[in-house]
């Protein structure tokens, strides 16, 4: 809200207080000041009214004019001007040489394209005034004397604060509310605000009223008042009122409309004036009938629905309730009788209606923040007083009131010691009383505590805790002492996921990976690269904002691949990137699981040549990283199963998936689909890896590892080579051999390792077979193994292999 310093002074004495002080005071009361600007015109020397006696086109520039200007001192000055909006004998602001315009811009005599120019003709913007039409500020209509210092034509300079009012402080959408805060803080009284016109007393119009009936059949409006004012002379409003409106950013229209707006600015209560001649029968506040139309003051035509509250006469809707008036029933120059409306609407309903029709008005903004029900009557009476004074109006009879104020003053019991207990520092009850009285609360001390009566304008203060806020706000938050933090609480368990996330990030950064952060939202194409169409559709948002962020991401890999692409194009030499974050995966039953994902990508070829070449990062490097990460997450290697990938992001036959079915963890690693990475302008190949950990992985704190005793006797190793079908995984063969060995040796002998050390296919082997060689390591727990028992065990392993259909090579 725009708060002008001069307007504030109508409500509180600000002598000795500067606008700067006010702008520093308000934020500490909870009213943020977004900007401080000047309004009106500062006196500027050598800036006067002049008349353009004649002008002609500049000989060397089509867009410039050469003007002969009279500023009343008996000489004609030649001034070159670029504007187009003037005619001969127009009066305009003239900045003569020596004038210093806003922005420290000094005017000097000069030549413009070889033509002498002795000053500048000014636009509104160049003078720091609100910009009107393009071009010069034409003053002709005001008929000022030539040579008049320009600032004499404008209001005295003022300072306007743009104040951001929080959602709970509807009372501060009126100047009086802001002034009340300042007055309380300065310890000064508010100036009185009283109306002479009578309050409403009846619920039926009399024969003198300009309307036959009033009723509200809408829940949106529990309290509605109307007054008739006759013999209104519509015309311009007084200068001081126009000034206040313009300072607040409103346009002056006519005295009737200006008065309703001016009263709204002071009190925060929006008012509406109908031209009585255009109201048929009477006024009803009702729900719109579906399909009814209403043409608003701004020319928009609304087609209404039944959830919309309107003010209507017997024939048609006139006003979108609480939001904006209609063009048909508004006050015009021909108006003689006015019906003045003042009402209270349910805040949430006004917000909803304004949003539904995408209209945010001064009125809807205030009703939506909950105006003061007591102000409904006061504002209408203030407006009536002003209409009598400035529009010659005559009040007929009392106001007609339908319904009643939804809220009045209320009393809160504030127990002794409550404020001090919340502050953590003493707050004597007498002091609390004194502070609360400064913001207009009434306080009555009892033996057990204070009885605080909160006026109706404070919709946000209901409970003792709300009074604590009021006390510390006005007393000053600097009075809150700095407490000493307590010692930690023992035995509190920390989220295991949090420490895991940090550990993994450190591990990958240590391995030469740079951490990336991508948006969690992506487009449909990116999800379908990871999931099938049906699953992808499950990750769509209901109300996306932009076409490139319509879905929840299902994988970190597409983002990381794009980061490789971007950094290659930037010549930033990307090589190894990673990211840690949430991804979303639909499950077979249709539910969506939020997983913690760790993903990484590696460009296998360095973007820059080097004096020495290293072994490239491959699928097995990725596999080692992933198994390390799984271990850190509490998933043992032995739980992981590895298999071929079905495609998607990955290059078939050159990548693998992993799964831990028990914990529903999943992942993959290997070569990214080459056709895809080529479309990203990545020439080399990209090895990537990703592991998805469901929240359940981290539901329990990790157990401490338990020590297991180990043998002090030496191990024995034996080799076994097998010819197996190419389609049989070496991992599966190793597992089979391990099981066979374990069965053969019994429980005192450990099968410590079954390691594949040679893979061979080709010459000497049948097609679709390959040779795998394993080293088996055995160790006895209590003695040295004998050659005989090891040989016997290996015979059984060989037998098991043969049984599996594999040829043992001897």
């Amino acid at each position: 809200m725009r708060v002008s310093f001069q307007s504030l002074e109508r409500h509180v004495d600000l002598s000795g207080v500067t606008p700067t002080q006010v702008s520093e005071l308000l934020p500490m009361l909870g009213l943020e000041v977004d900007s401080v600007t000047t309004f009106g015109l500062q006196p500027i020397e050598h800036l006067v009214v002049g008349e353009i006696r004649s002008f002609e086109k500049h000989p060397k520039a089509d867009r410039l004019s050469v003007c002969q200007v009279d500023t009343g001192d008996g000489v004609l000055r030649q001034i070159v001007c670029g504007a187009k909006n003037f005619k001969a004998n127009d009066r305009v602001p003239v900045a003569l040489p020596g004038a210093i315009l806003p922005g420290n811009f000094e005017i000097k005599s000069s030549k413009l394209r070889d033509v002498d120019s002795h000053g500048m003709l000014c636009s509104a913007a160049e003078l720091g005034l609100p910009a009107g039409e393009d071009g010069l500020l034409i003053l002709t209509a005001r008929a000022p004397a030539l040579g008049t210092p320009l600032h004499k034509l404008f209001p005295s300079p003022d300072v306007v604060l743009e104040v951001a009012v929080t959602a709970n402080r509807g009372d501060c959408l009126g100047l009086r509310g802001v002034a009340r805060e300042i007055a309380a803080s300065l310890g000064r009284p508010l100036k009185p605000l009283e109306a002479r016109a009578p309050s409403g007393t009846t619920d039926k119009p009399s024969s003198k009223d300009a309307f036959g009936f009033v009723k509200s059949t809408s829940k949106t409006c529990p309290y509605y008042t109307l007054r008739t004012l006759r013999d209104v002379k519509v015309g311009p409003s007084p200068d001081w009122m126009r000034r206040d409106l313009e300072a607040a950013g409103l346009r002056a229209v006519n005295n009737v409309v200006d008065i309703t707006n001016w009263v709204m600015l002071q009190t925060g209560q929006p008012l509406h004036a109908f031209d009585a001649a255009k109201v048929k029968g009477g006024i009803e506040v009702r729900s719109a009938r579906a399909g009814e139309t209403l043409t608003l003051l701004d020319g928009r035509v609304l087609t209404l629905d039944a959830n919309t509250c309107v003010i209507a006469d017997e024939a048609r809707p006139l006003v979108l309730a609480g939001v904006m008036g209609g063009v048909e029933s508004g006050v015009a120059t021909t108006t003689t009788d006015v019906i003045l409306e003042s009402a209270w609407f349910i805040p949430g309903e006004v917000r909803r209606i304004a949003r539904q029709y995408t209209l945010a008005t001064d009125s809807s903004q205030r009703f939506a923040r909950d105006v003061d029900p007591a102000g409904v009557d006061l504002a209408a009476r203030l407006a009536a007083d002003l209409l009598i004074e400035h529009a010659g109006a005559r009040v007929v009879g009392p106001a007609v009131v339908v319904g009643k104020a939804p809220r009045s003053d209320r009393t809160i019991k504030l127990p002794n010691g409550f404020v001090a207990a919340k502050l953590g520092t003493p707050a004597p009850e007498e002091h609390v009383s004194a502070v609360l009285r400064r913001i207009g609360f009434t306080v009555h001390a009892t033996n057990t505590g204070l009885e605080v009566t909160v006026p109706s304008f404070r919709s946000d203060v209901d409970r003792p805790i709300d009074l604590v806020e009021e006390y510390i706000r006005i007393h000053g938050t600097a009075q809150v002492p700095v407490g000493r933090p307590l010692a930690p609480l023992p035995g509190e368990e920390e989220s295991p996921a949090a420490s895991f996330v940090h550990e993994v990030a450190l591990r990958l950064a240590g391995a030469g990976f740079s951490e990336c952060y991508h948006y969690s939202l992506c487009d449909a194409a990116e999800v379908t690269r990871v999931l099938d169409e049906k699953s992808s559709a499950q990750l769509a948002l209901q109300n996306p904002l932009t076409a490139d962020q319509t879905h929840l991401r299902a994988s970190l890999i597409p983002g990381l691949a794009r980061a490789l692409q971007l950094n290659l194009s930037l010549h930033a030499e990307p090589r190894q990137l990673f990211e840690v974050g949430a991804v979303f995966r639909p499950m077979a039953d249709g539910q969506v699981r939020e997983c913690l994902s760790i993903g990484f990508v590696v460009l296998t070829e360095a973007p820059r040549r080097s004096w020495k070449t290293r072994e490239p990062f491959d699928l097995f490097s990725a596999k080692r990283l992933l198994t390390g990460i799984a271990t850190a997450a509490g998933i043992a290697n032995t739980r992981l199963t590895w298999s071929d990938v079905p495609g998607g992001l990955w290059q078939e036959g050159h990548a693998a998936t992993l799964a831990d079915r028990g914990r529903a963890a999943e992942g993959a690693c290997g070569l990214l689909d080459l056709r895809w990475t080529r479309t990203l302008d990545i020439r080399g190949s990209v090895i990537a890896g990703e592991i998805l950990l469901p929240r359940a992985t981290f539901t329990s704190a990790r157990k401490s590892a338990r020590f297991e005793a180990f043998s002090s006797f030496p191990p024995v190793t034996r080799d076994i080579a097998l010819v197996v079908p190419t389609s049989t995984g070496a991992g599966d063969v190793a597992e089979r051999l391990r099981q066979a060995a374990a069965k053969a040796v019994g429980k005192d002998i450990a099968v410590e390792a079954v390691t594949c050390f040679d893979v061979f296919s080709g010459e000497g082997l049948a097609p679709n077979t390959r040779s795998l060689a394993f080293e088996i390591t055995l160790r006895h727990s209590t003695r040295t193994l004998t050659d005989t028992e090891v040989t016997a065990a290996l015979e059984q392993v060989a037998a098991a292999a043969a049984k599996a259909g594999w040829t043992v090579r001897r």
């Binding site: 002492p481 933090p485 010692a487 990958l508 969506v592 004096w611 290293r614």
Partner: protein, 346 residues
Amino acid sequence: MQSQLDSALKEAADAAGQIRTRAELEALKARLVGPNGSLTLIMRGMATLSKEERPAAGKMVNATKAQLDEILATVSARVEQAELAALLGPTVDPSLASPDVAPGSLHPLTRTRERILATFRKLGFVIAEGPEVETEWHCFDALNTPADHPARDMQDTFYLPKSFRSIDALRKGDEDLLLRTHTSSVQVRTMLSRKPPLRIVAPGRCFRRDAVDATHSANFHQVEGLWVDRHVTLADLRGVLDFFVKETFGPEAETRLRPSFFPFTEPSFEMDIRSPNLGRLSDRWLEVLGCGLVDPKVLESCGLDATEWSGLAFGLGLERIAMLVHGIDDIRHFYANDLRFLRQFA
């Protein structure tokens, strides 16, 4: 005998200079001290000497043997040096750059998060977490933000379709699911799952339906703090947050609590800081976080008796803190993933 010894010694000394390999060394040793070596034969010859002659002869032999050993040791050392040199290859140029991948880096938001979490851990706060897809109830209703509150405007919040079902955020009724707009939802989840007293900080990603510009991002990160106990006061709030500010921005940083409004705290404040060490943002008040005492309605929503328990809560933006600490002027840098940016915070 002396002449025999001298000739053996001379043979050794002459040969020593020629020896390049261990095999040549072993051959020389064999010629001198092997079973048929010249020195071995001389020593055998001593058996023919008389008892009187032996001590002097022994002395001569020992002296010669010592000299021989010395020669052989020198040669052996030289051979070993040559062998190692062959094994090691040419010497390295340590001024060459490492051909390995460049060092990795942690994202500045990760670093900022961990620094903030470390600060609050010192004060006995533990880390808690909640899902990014959240129910309206956890994100709004339980936090005293009723259905017609402006913060629940569709304009500001990403919603998921009615058909969306999340295993991590189970609906209480038929409310909508949304992308959480703040980490304050973790307050609710914590109070529902644990008994007070409790002190938690919840880092996490949040979403607002905002057009992206220098200060707005479709997703951003917060760290939420909650302390629930008997008699938690505003003085405690200042104590905790002043400590945080001084740990993060240095002991010179000043703080102030500026009254504000959040539905879930009462009273509510924004905390501003002013520090001489913030570059062009030095020496002016800057908003860094929102805070307050937990609104009694929030405690009651979570099943806590608001006359017995009280709490303080705060929420700060990771991006905001990282931008202040590192002098970053545009929030979009955090999500652009330009390595020239990321490597600056390695």
